[in-house]
């Protein structure tokens, strides 16, 4: 008897508000998705096609055939993967040192990495541009990888430190009692155990580097043009082809969004830990 009103009540007070929040969050993206499957001619005449009957992949076909979008995806991939590798390699040992040793200067060095993470992009972008120009690195993958690493390294040092902190110290001590040196204990015991943390940190770096725009715009050029810059160049000179642009936006956003959805549980765990403890 009481079951039905209770269910109604739940739907009204919980499900509907939740639906509202979800629609607010994904509505604009869904709108772009629908724009991207509306043929150009229809979009100009009647507006966005809301029903699947009128959908077509015309814009996507044009995107792939008429623009260099696949090439841009490749550049983004190289830059994001490069940033990920550089960021992780440099940070793993640093994170291990912060987690396992207490040494003079530890606090200062940790705070230095935190501080670096807060530096405004706009402060670094101009001198980095001058630096890359001097070194002849403008418009290369290396320039973008280095620029993205300014964000990636401090971030992953902090993330990895908190992941390694969660691994009991007794494990390295046991390994060392069995005759491992410190570095062997790091490689054989800690690294495998920290792998989930390393992977999710890597994914986060990849996503950030893939989505990055200002460095790519300033330090890239004709040879190295990432997806985020390429999307903007889809804006025509006289009029904006929203269908084509939306298709570019959807394709450009897809890799990062999918990775994010796959890794989100662990990622969010790592990201929120610090804030909740503070």
């Amino acid at each position: 008897m009481t079951q039905k009103p209770k269910l109604m009540r739940r739907i009204l007070t919980v499900d509907l508000p939740a639906l509202g929040i979800v629609l607010l969050a994904i509505g604009p993206f869904v709108w772009m998705l629908m724009t991207s499957v509306t043929p150009q001619a229809r979009l100009a005449a009647l507006g966005v096609a809301v029903t699947p009957v009128d959908w077509s992949f015309e814009n996507y076909i044009r995107l792939v055939s008429r623009t260099s979008f696949l090439g841009n995806m490749w550049h983004s991939l190289v830059v994001a993967a490069g940033t990920m590798v550089l960021g992780l390699i440099v940070s793993v040992t640093a994170a291990y040192a912060f987690s396992r040793f207490r040494f003079p200067g530890r606090r200062l060095l940790m705070l230095q990495f935190l501080l670096v993470n807060m530096f405004p992009v706009v402060l670094l972008i101009l001198p980095l541009f001058v630096m890359m120009r001097r070194l002849g690195l403008l418009d290369t993958h290396a320039a973008l990888i280095i620029a993205n690493a300014t964000v990636a390294i401090p971030f992953s040092v902090w993330m990895l430190t908190s992941y390694i902190n969660a691994i009991p110290r007794s494990l390295d001590e046991a390994a060392m009692t069995d005759g491992c040196t410190r570095l062997q204990a790091l490689r054989r015991v800690i690294l495998p155990l920290a792998m989930p943390g390393i992977v999710s940190t890597g994914i986060y770096i990849f996503i950030t580097a893939w989505n990055e725009y200002l460095y790519a715009l300033t330090l890239g050029g004709r040879n190295v043009r990432t997806v985020t810059v390429a999307i903007q160049t889809l804006i025509g000179e006289y009029q904006i082809e929203w269908g084509l642009l939306s298709a570019g936006g959807v394709v450009g956003a897809l890799p990062a969004t999918i990775l994010f959805l796959i890794a989100q549980r662990r990622l969010i765990g790592g990201l929120t830990q610090g804030a909740v403890k503070g």
């Binding site: 929040i21 994904i26 040192a97 807060m118 101009l126 642009l245 936006g249």
Partner: protein, 306 residues
């Protein structure tokens, strides 16, 4: 007794220097790389700000001391953009936090598709800023944008509003976009905080006959206050720094209507190639932001002690 306590201390040999240097060795790669790619450029930025330096005339660089800074405080655009930065941060961060709090409270309730809802709500966070900016330009479009269409149908406006072309609405339109981009971050952080509040506290409050509002004020809010403060500080820094969305949506225009301080620095350097003055603006912005950063660092350094 006293002797036996003191003995082991002396018996332990001094740790070999290799062991003591090991942590520094492990840190060297990360420190060297950050010094080269962050600290050297930063010093170069401070030095550049003391020069009159146009990118297309690199040999005509002239030392002007604090001349650029004097020019900056006399520049009316500096004060305009500083004001915009204050509005920008002052509206965006509280709006993100408020919307994030509402979302977190709703998503913290029990319902069958909660996992799916939580995953979907985070999507704006994962999208590239450029995509977000273009998407909203399309939504705000004066002729064919969906926002105007909805508002016209509901008869809220009488004629289509050129949201991004009108200097009176442009800044607020961009703020709405950034609020949308950033609220999932707060929602996720606050959700984590909510889950840390023991259920027993709510039960105790319910037994005492506390109303829903009183439960929120006396149980929920104290439970997430720490998260709100940390996430809020982080977001102030992040929102202040984020110029990509504005840059793509309006480029700072119309006029200076949506120009914030860091965007002004970027545009000066990029379009006018005036690196000396652009860097000066960037350094000034960094100094101002440093006040917020100091708060955040002080908060976090308690963590590091352990």
């Amino acid at each position: 007794m006293a002797l036996s306590v003191a003995l082991p201390k002396e018996a332990v040999p001094a740790r070999p220097w290799r062991t003591r240097l090991l942590p520094y060795g492990l840190l060297t790669p990360a420190v060297i790389v950050t010094v080269i790619i962050v600290f050297l450029p930063m010093i170069e930025a401070v030095v550049t700000s003391l020069y009159e330096f146009m990118l297309f005339r690199p040999n005509a660089a002239r030392f002007v001391g604090l001349g650029n800074y004097v020019k900056l405080v006399q520049d009316p655009v500096f004060w305009i953009t500083l004001g915009h930065t204050a509005i920008w941060i002052g509206l965006t961060v509280p709006l993100q936090m408020g919307l994030g709090l509402i979302a977190a409270l709703i998503l913290n309730r029990e319902f069958p598709w909660r996992g799916l809802a939580r995953a979907l709500v985070i999507i704006p966070w994962a999208l590239p800023s450029v995509v977000i900016a273009l998407m909203w330009r399309w939504i705000y479009d004066a002729n064919t944008g969906v926002l105007n269409e909805i508002l016209l149908r509901l008869a809220i406006v009488q004629s289509a509003v050129p949201w991004l072309a009108d200097p009176d609405t442009a800044l607020y339109a961009v703020i709405a976009t950034l609020t949308w981009q950033g609220f999932p971050f707060f929602a996720v952080m606050i959700l984590a905080g909510l889950q840390g509040i023991p259920r027993s506290r709510y039960e105790a409050a319910a037994i005492d006959g506390a109303s829903a509002w009183r439960q929120f004020r006396h149980v929920t809010f104290p439970g997430i206050a720490g998260v709100l403060a940390t996430a809020g500080l982080l977001r102030i820094i992040w929102v202040a720094n984020s110029i990509d969305v504005i840059f793509v949506m309006t480029g700072g225009g119309p006029g200076y209507a949506t120009q914030t301080l860091p965007l002004y620095a970027f545009v000066k350097a990029r379009q006018n190639l005036d690196f000396g003055y652009g860097t000066t603006i960037a350094v000034m912005f960094t100094l101002l932001l440093g006040i917020v950063v100091a708060f955040y660092i002080a908060r976090t350094s308690r963590e590091v002690e352990r």
